[in-house]
């Protein structure tokens, strides 16, 4: 008996923490700060979100614009990142020549490239897509590289002992073994891609979630700011979880491989 009461108390801790946090936030906003340009109550934020979703419905164009850029950037990053990662894993020469540039591009805070890209391409869709692309290409590329290199050590011998042709070696061994790594790369790329979206829209756009946040920040419109940030967080979590599910579906054997 004692134990089960204790168990209930334990499982309640998380909801209690969330609830009391929200209450504290509300109290802080309405009784302590009391300044709508500094902090607003979560109730106000929820009301604003409801309004933007169901009454004025003015969140959707932003959501649509941002999703579109995001998707294009991700697809481009996959199409470019995976082959380069593979090439680097399969050819030491390619790796050695590409490596210094990759490291430079990868370790530089991505936002540094945004003004340069805007300078070259102007404020249009292509520039934004490229900024998103730069954000998410590296996790994809690096994971493809590692995936391919890990398998090339473990399983290539098996393929060679069965005298598979180069094509079969790639299709039957290298590619399937890299799939979970590529998907893991995509999963990591979601967050960076969203940051890319925010940066891109922030620099020059008239719609999109990044624009919404930037605009709300400039005009000290805290309810909209909170809603924008929340939508970003939700998109990030959804994208991440979606890719988790895809990973599990695409490679039921993955856990075994990754544990080793």
């Amino acid at each position: 008996m004692q134990a089960s009461y204790k168990n209930i108390a334990w499982t309640m801790l998380k909801p209690i923490s969330i609830f009391s946090g929200l209450v504290l936030w509300h109290a802080l906003a309405t009784h302590v700060v009391n300044d709508a340009t500094l902090l607003v109550s979560p109730l106000v934020v929820i009301a604003k979100a409801y309004e933007m979703l169901f009454v004025t419905a003015d969140l959707y164009p932003h959501l649509y614009a941002s999703s579109w850029i995001f998707l294009q950037g991700m697809v481009l990053a996959t199409v470019v990142g995976v082959p380069i990662g593979f090439l680097m894993a399969l050819s030491p020469a390619v790796r050695d020549y590409v490596n210094p540039w990759m490291t430079a591009l990868y370790t530089t805070p991505r936002i540094a490239f945004a003004p340069v890209i805007l300078l070259w391409l102007g404020i249009d869709l292509a520039a934004k897509v490229i900024i998103v692309f730069l954000g998410c290409v590296f996790p994809i590329l690096i994971n493809s590289f590692y995936g391919m290199r890990v398998v090339s050590r473990e399983f290539v011998e098996v393929g060679r002992s069965f005298r598979l042709s180069r094509g079969s070696l790639f299709m039957k061994i290298l590619l399937p073994a890299s799939v979970p790594f590529i998907l893991a790369g995509l999963r990591l790329a979601v967050g960076r891609g969203l940051t890319g979206v925010a940066i891109a829209e922030w620099f020059g756009a008239t719609e999109g979630l990044g624009y919404l946040i930037f605009f709300a920040g400039q005009t000290l419109n805290l309810p909209i700011l909170f809603v924008g940030v929340a939508v970003f967080a939700i998109l990030g979590i959804l994208g991440f979880q979606l890719l988790r599910v895809i990973e599990d579906l695409a490679s039921p054997w993955r856990k075994e491989l990754l544990v080793k």
């Binding site: 334990w10 801790l13 998380k14 923490s17 969330i18 946090g21 340009t37 500094l38 030491p92 020469a93 050695d96 020549y97 590409v98 490596n99 210094p100 540039w101 990759m102 490291t103 430079a104 990868y106 370790t107 530089t108 805070p109 991505r110 936002i111 540094a112 490239f113 003004p115 340069v116 805007l118 300078l119 070259w120 590296f138 690096i142 967050g191 969203l194 940051t195 925010a198 940066i199 922030w202 990044g210 946040i213 930037f214 709300a216 920040g217 000290l220 805290l222 700011l225 924008g228 940030v229 970003f232 967080a233 990030g236 979590i237 991440f240």
Partner: protein
């Protein structure tokens, strides 16, 4: 005798720079779009001579170091307790996880509204980003400790202090360093974003200044400086990783 790898890397860099210089000189009428490396270098020199370079570089570095070092202390401390005590993890996790999943760019406006456009807000941005990453990773490291080691600790009758400092923390060290590595990259982005939004000094400020005045050599200098800072901090972290957790294979990037 340089290794083949290094030789190829150097060849690749010099060839790239030479190509860039030649192409920009031959093909482009004005230097607005892509200044040749030589004029980027000249601008770098000029910025250094006027003391501007020092000012902005030091501002960013200062913000970064302050935020990062406090984040290490707080992150490890909280992460440790999150890993050890389930109730604490339950209380903290919803908030930390939420903070973690908000893109860097999205919460910077808040920090600026709350803490102003000075250095404090940037220190807080760096702090928040790094602390969260270190916290989550430290907690994971403490949770994932091999139970055999805990039994070993018990059978050797280690006291709680020894248990913490000789078994649990060393076991979690690779995770902690991973948290730091993840934190550095995102924090660098965060500090630049914050400076870009509202600041009166720092590399982010310089970036904005250069792009608003269409001063492309200056823009490229800033990008170069940021690349240098990125690679520098990355190399440092990698070195630290090898020193702190030499039993672990470190990531190449």
């Amino acid at each position: 005798m340089l290794s083949k790898e290094l030789r190829r890397g150097l060849v690749s860099i010099f060839a790239g720079l030479a190509l860039w210089e030649i192409l920009t000189r031959l093909l482009l009428e004005n230097e607005l779009l892509i200044p040749p490396p030589s004029s980027v270098l000249r601008t770098l020199w000029e910025l250094g001579a006027t003391g501007q370079l020092n000012k902005h570089l030091l501002a960013t570095l200062f913000e970064f170091v302050c935020g990062f070092s406090t984040a290490c202390v707080v992150g490890i401390l909280f992460g440790y307790f999150m890993g050890r005590y389930k109730w604490f993890d339950d209380v903290m996790d919803p908030w930390i996880a939420t903070l973690y999943s908000i893109p860097v760019v999205a919460f910077v406006p808040f920090i600026i509204i709350w803490f102003g456009i000075g250095m404090v807000s940037k220190v807080i941005v760096v702090f928040k980003i790094t602390a969260v990453a270190i916290m989550l990773n430290t907690a994971a490291g403490i949770k994932n400790i091999d139970p055999t080691w805990l039994e070993l600790s018990k059978s050797l009758r280690l006291n709680p202090r020894q248990n913490t400092f000789k078994i649990r923390l060393p076991a979690a060290l690779p995770y902690i360093v991973t948290g730091m590595r993840l934190g550095v990259g995102r924090a660098m982005l965060g500090v630049i974003v914050a400076e870009l939004m509202a600041a009166n000094a720092g590399l982010g400020y310089l970036l904005r200044d250069a792009s608003e005045t269409w001063d492309s050599p200056k823009l490229f200098v800033t990008v170069l400086l940021l690349a240098g800072m990125g690679m520098g901090s990355f190399t440092l972290i990698k070195k630290a990783e090898q020193k702190l957790a030499p039993w672990r294979e470190t990531a190449e990037w």
